[in-house]
């Protein structure tokens, strides 16, 4: 049996189950407790679990994330919310020097089982400093793991895997997905965990592979419908879900089937997850490519505010369709 939940509810259910499973799991962040979370992901959890397990912090991201890292070395398992992933910039040293390197620099003596989670997306009119897409940025640091679920079920399954993982996992959500709905297995049917590192074909197809993660998956699915209905093109949509570890096998399998690739990535085009995926595809499936790998990224400028035009800066179904048609 499964139920229809919002992405937000699914996440919350995952957090709640892990809080119940392991007394060392503690949620912390700005406004996560008494305020119920800026985006209400943690709604009701403070009331249920109390001050010890759900902790409001001052606006000191470097301070509280570093605190979580330190506590994790001692066996606590902090799940820390960045109200926006964009605020990584003020905690960057803790995120990439301490969390990513402490295991290595200690020759394996220290563990850092933390999760840092929060929304990472454009499209809500909050401008350049609040609209970062940092999956590729963090996946570049060996020692870190990164995932970005697109659906309620994936959000729940992956957050539970992230919390149980003994390495630092950076979990990228999306304010525009929080309200979207989807089927999520019933807890009564057993523990629902989706391992990191497993992509999923969200739509089978044979003509072209659209490879995406996060909300770009939803945009790719919408584009695939248009391609099918208006152009008779049968697009496969592969959802990476997890960026590091990365399901390279699934990527190559899809490419070898369709021989044509458009990567959809909300990142700015210099770099991003998509540049890396392109590198891997041309390296490992060179002879299967009918033509160059193409990408649909955000237009290369800081995020514009204007609600009239912001959606045009981001990958959207129109831009994806145009790109696929341009493959010729």
């Amino acid at each position: 049996m499964s139920r229809i939940l919002t992405y937000r509810e699914a996440l919350r259910e995952g957090l709640d189950e892990e809080l119940a499973r392991d007394p060392n799991v503690v949620l912390m962040g700005e406004e996560v407790a008494q305020y119920n979370g800026a985006y209400k992901v943690t709604e009701g959890l403070w009331k249920k679990w109390g001050d010890k397990r759900i902790v409001d912090t001052p606006i000191s991201e470097a301070g509280f994330i570093g605190m979580g890292i330190g506590a994790s070395m001692l066996g606590v398992r902090p799940v820390m919310e960045l109200m926006f992933w964009s605020f990584h910039s003020v905690a960057f040293d803790q995120l990439v020097s301490n969390a990513a390197c402490v295991r290595y620099m200690s020759g394996g003596l220290c563990n850092c089982p933390i999760v840092v989670r929060g929304p990472a997306n454009g499209g809500t009119g909050v401008g350049a400093t609040h609209s970062h897409i940092p999956e590729g940025l963090f996946a570049a640091f060996p020692g870190l793991k990164v995932c970005a679920p697109a659906t309620p079920a994936d959000a729940k399954g992956l957050i539970k895997a992230a919390i149980r993982d003994n390495d630092p996992v950076y979990f990228m959500e999306n304010t525009l997905l929080y309200g979207t709905t989807g089927e999520v297995p019933d807890p009564a049917d057993g523990d629902f965990v989706i391992p990191l590192g497993l992509a999923e074909i969200k739509r089978e197809g044979s003509d072209v592979s659209l490879i995406a993660h996060g909300r770009s998956v939803i945009q790719a699915l919408a584009a695939a419908e248009i391609l099918k209905n208006d152009h008779g093109i049968d697009a496969e949509v592969l959802d990476l879900r997890s960026i590091r570890p990365l399901d390279q096998d699934a990527i190559l399998k899809s490419v070898m089937k369709t021989n044509r690739v458009v990567l959809v990535d909300e990142s700015k085009p210099f770099g991003g997850v998509s540049a890396m995926v392109a590198m891997l595809i041309q390296d490992h499936a060179f002879d299967y490519l009918d033509g160059p790998i193409k990408r649909v990224c955000s237009i290369d400028a800081p995020a514009i505010y204007s609600p009239h035009i912001e959606h045009e800066q981001l990958p959207n179904p129109r831009r994806i369709v145009e790109k696929v048609l341009s493959l010729g």
Partner: protein, 358 residues
Amino acid sequence: MTSASSSALDFAHSPINQALTPERKIELFTQMVRIRRFEQAGLKYYQAGKIGGFLHLYIGQEAVAVGTISLGGANDHFITAYRDHGHALAVGMGMNECMAEMYGKQTGCSKGKGGSMHFFAPDKNFWGGHGIVAGQTPLGLGLAYGLKYLGREGCCLCYLGDGAVNQGAFHESLNIASLFGIPVVYVIENNGYSMGTSQERSSAYNGCLAQRAEAYAIEWDVIDGSDLYEVRAKTHIAMERARKEMKPTVLEIDTYRYYGHSIADANHKKYRTPEEIENYKQNHDPIAVFRRRLIAEGVMTEELATTINKDAATEAAASVKFAEESPAPTIADISTDVYWESDNNTPASQIGRHFFND
């Protein structure tokens, strides 16, 4: 803060306030009213879906921006956080370009690229409008450093919230300001809350937040933000200390916001009692306080106050119309204002690939 004790001193008699002509006093009153009317219009059209992103209203805090900025001369500069409408209007920005910015239109002060949190007017010495909490505090330091470097006698007023004091960048700035003798005045606009978190739940302190300045051998003061005269009198001292002695100051101005943290904040009546909000509105509203004051002084009549109010509302409505009728940015506009060299089509901009679309 609601608990701001009514001051025993009367700052109307401070020289800096005695120097005010009746016209100037009315102007300051008018500015506060214009901020409020502008924001009320913004709120209305935000709720109507015309404005995107966040809307952080300044209503309740007007005397801080108007009082402090009224002291600015040609070489005094200003920079603040995302709650920036009051400062923008106080430095002399027009309602039109501000409203159009919130509407995301080409005619906005930032061409619709910044939105409500990012108003700028360098020609009026106003440097934004910044979204990352306390991210502007080193910039304010830098503006003041720049003044000193360029040999201009002036200072920078850098505003931040009571929650922002817990960001590391602010502390780094304070140490440098004191060590280097930088003419910056940090103004903590203490409205008692950072989002849903009261000052007591976010900050450890002795006495008050401004007192943290002592850690860096910096002078500090606490000001009742509902009294425009007090704001001016005490801020003037800090600005003069900066301009003449090249010494920073931290001011904490007690104030209050009537609305939620932003208009998306549906909780603000949960973390604050209705009595607390009502008490401030009744007894500490900076516009009402100054209005009573000017009427008592005989500087302003009830009628004039009413006219000012009506005019401000009319001006705000006109700015809505201006914004509505202005053109939206185009797809091409997304790619401008990224690089100075590209915008100015310089030789440097012709060499190598700058943009990586397709």
